[in-house]
Amino acid sequence: MISLQSIPLQAFLIVSSALFCIGIWGLLNSRNAVRVLMSIELMLNAVNINLMAFSSFVDNNLIQGQVFTIFVITVAAAEAAVGLAILLSLYRNRVTVDMESFNLLKW
């Protein structure tokens, strides 16, 4: 039983656009540094949904988008580890996670 219709590509793209914009909003408006890292993860997930949708709808024979998604997941894991380590050492030096107080490089 093979149905020829499926969910349109645009639906996936709209979900990923909305997720990306929510991530940007959180990145700009969070005061807790951990929440900033979470927003970055949300944005990376939005990009992954895009890659997967295009790989399934446009390039479904050589699924290169899925390979790219694997690489993005790898880089995101490395980014989360290093970002949280930076956050820990920042917290040790400034005793706060408030983004507004990290103004050492502000002129």
């Binding site: 996936f12 709808f57 446009v58 706060t96």
Partner: protein, 199 residues
């Protein structure tokens, strides 16, 4: 695709709703712990979307890496830096909120317009390989994507060492400011934090 179209639409709607509401909760909720657990829910739903797209391997990788590693790491970071602090009020918070929200809404409308108006050149038989996708990914990773695969392993090693170096507590034999030898105990010592209260 073996699932009927109605089932697919129902699954897609539920997963999208969970993703969007969960993401809004992640950025809007007061408690950071609730945000972290909602983030896990968002990651699981994204894995569900991958399953709808017939990509079982990437869905499994998403659950393992994001829910199993990244989310647990974030929860550990919250446990380590969780301190109730009274944030200083910002004077121009309202104008900042207005500007950033308008920027995000503009970007969202632009992206949705591009999504809907562009004519995508879709290939005709959709999801033709289906179950074979894991085999195909393996072939890619060990033939034409071999170099990025190896570089990714080096990147992971570098990230691991870098995280250890950044996050560990420096053990020094003598105190920097006084020059006296310090006692090397493994218990947590209360130390004067550097660089606090700049303004």
């Amino acid at each position: 695709m073996s699932i009927a179209i109605t089932t697919q639409i129902i699954c897609f709607s539920i997963l999208s709703l969970v993703i969007l509401i969960g993401a809004l909760g992640v950025v809007l909720l007061e408690s950071i712990v609730y945000s972290a657990f909602l983030l896990g829910g968002v990651f699981m739903s994204v894995a569900g979307l991958y399953l709808l797209l017939n990509a079982s391997f990437v869905a499994a990788a998403q659950v393992l890496v994001y829910v199993g590693a990244v989310n647990v790491l974030i929860i550990f970071a919250i446990m380590l830096v969780n301190k109730k602090e009274d944030l200083k009020p910002i004077s121009d918070i309202k104008s900042r909120r207005i500007i950033s929200t308008s920027i995000c809404l503009t970007l969202l409308s632009l992206l949705i317009r591009v999504d809907l108006t562009n004519v995508w050149s879709l290939s005709s038989p959709q999801n033709s390989i289906g179950e074979e996708s894991t085999i195909r990914i393996g072939e890619h990773l060990f033939s034409d994507y071999l170099l990025p695969f190896e570089v990714a392993s080096v990147l992971l090693l570098m990230a691991m060492i870098g995280a250890i170096v950044l996050a560990r507590r420096d053990v020094m034999s003598k105190d920097i400011s006084t020059g006296l030898p310090v006692d090397q105990e493994l218990i947590e010592k209360s130390s004067e934090p550097l660089l606090t209260n700049k303004n």
